[in-house]
Amino acid sequence: MNAVTENVGANPGGLLRKSILQSMAVVLFVIAGSAVALSIDTRFVYLLVYVWFGLAYGILLQYGRFCMASAVRDLFAVKVPRMAVGVMIAVALYSIVAAIVTISGFSTFHPNAMGWHIVIGAAIFGFGIVFTGGCASGSLYKAGEGNMNSMLVIVAISFSQAIVVTASGWWDNLVPQHWIDSAMAKGMPEELSVTKGWFDIFTAGYVWDLKGTTTAELLGAAGTKTGVIVYNTLITAILPVIVILVALYLLYYRKSYLRRTKNANPALKDEFAGIWAMCTSSKNTAIAGIGLGILAGLHMYVTGALREHYGIFNFGELLTAMGYTGGLSIQDTVFDPGYWYITTQEAQWGGWVLHKLGIENMDSIYFGLDNGLPNPLLNAPGFMSIGIILGAAVMALARKEFKWKTPTLETAFFAIVGGTLMGIGARLAMGCNIGAFFATVTNGDPSGWVFLIGMTIGAYLGVKVFTWWMDRAAAKMEAGCGL
């Protein structure tokens, strides 16, 4: 391949200066906002940790064009393994840092319940991400690039989740009777009405009866260094990463690599060189994967250390101590994972708006018992999502890639339908590709690999349907476009 001619901007000096200034203005805005929060109460530092990690995630996500949707979608759509490789690098790094955090005693991680709901939810989620053009985090960073389609996706994810977890109607009768019996047997407070609303019945009557565990717990080595390092990190994260990287190389990279290197009879060292070439073919993606993996682990460490400092288990306790009691769950808690998570805080945004519109949704397990409905100005993980948008804007402006992109009828339709499917899938699977995959497998919880299998199946089917749609649209425009 010949050398590439690069021309970035017709007036590099002037435009660069303007874009750098705009980028710095966003950072200054976050600094000023942080100062205001700290001037109100220094304990808001707990919330600001989410903000600044979100900002760093956003910068790296935009830098590496790091969208996990393309990890599975582009394999099937255009046979490009770039992002799948980047995600595997991030998983390996995060798992190593997570092991250090766990051994240090600052881990905030809780395993997910393992069951069929993960595969089904992940498949619906995976189908949706093909049409939205991004996963939950990907949509946030693309919103930071000025993409209004991605903003529509975020709105669709927020409201679809908020409705799914609280809606009640004739469909409540479709759930198995033993779920209802099991939910009733839990003896939950009456105000939660756990037998009204299918998601409440699903949660209390099915999910709560399942077991969530790490590999170390499963093998009787919980709390030991061997359990964390060997079972949780090496066996649950690193080994599958190596297997997947080798599979990606053999299926998607080897043939073109050997053709480019004109090597008809590769030795083993040539194959290793090929795997290395695949991992470093997109330096931006690889660097982002390394950075995100390390940051995600550090995020858990910092939040864990702050919890110890304040003597709390949940941000709700800190909010109560600061005098903010609105929107807390009946346990006086709010959603506060302590690590990178996306979909639940978006569900809270949608739920909060619906609540303000007069819809009673605090009688649900999801909001009323588990996550609360705090004012978005006090929603700590919500600020992580906003941080991702702003971080991506910082990087996109600095690289002169920020551009307002308005939706067409077609792209808006894809954003809303795909975003709704993502919201439904994320709630069924109890998380998205971050909370139910990235954060789980890296902390020794094998349920995340089940999520990845489901997401891959959904993305495969999504690409089939999307290709059919695209061919149909191209055929309609045949005279004009000739594709």
Binding site: V8, L15, V78, G146, L483
Partner: protein, 83 residues
């Protein structure tokens, strides 16, 4: 803005997918590269930065020559010669 794909001269083509997010730009590019003949040049115009990484990887894998990249105001103009 709708996608457009036109032949601009005997061996040159132009694909404009501005306004589209993933996976449209990379999938339309793949289709366009299948359509044109070896040695022909495709001028690709897009404004979704993420697609660029996948398109560059696609060119490398398929032996197509991405020989010119221009970027201005959030829009990218890339020239690809089919190998």
């Amino acid at each position: 803005m709708a996608m457009s794909f036109n032949q601009t001269s005997e061996h040159e083509w132009k694909l404009d997918v501005c306004g589209y997010t993933c996976p449209h730009p990379q999938m339309y590019t793949k289709k366009a590269m299948q359509k044109i003949a070896a040695g022909d040049v495709l001028t690709l115009v897009f404004d979704n930065p993420s697609s660029g990484e996948s398109i560059a990887a696609m060119c490398e894998a398929e032996g197509n020559d991405l020989f010119e990249r221009t970027e201005e105001g959030g829009s990218f103009v890339w020239k690809i010669r089919k190998g």
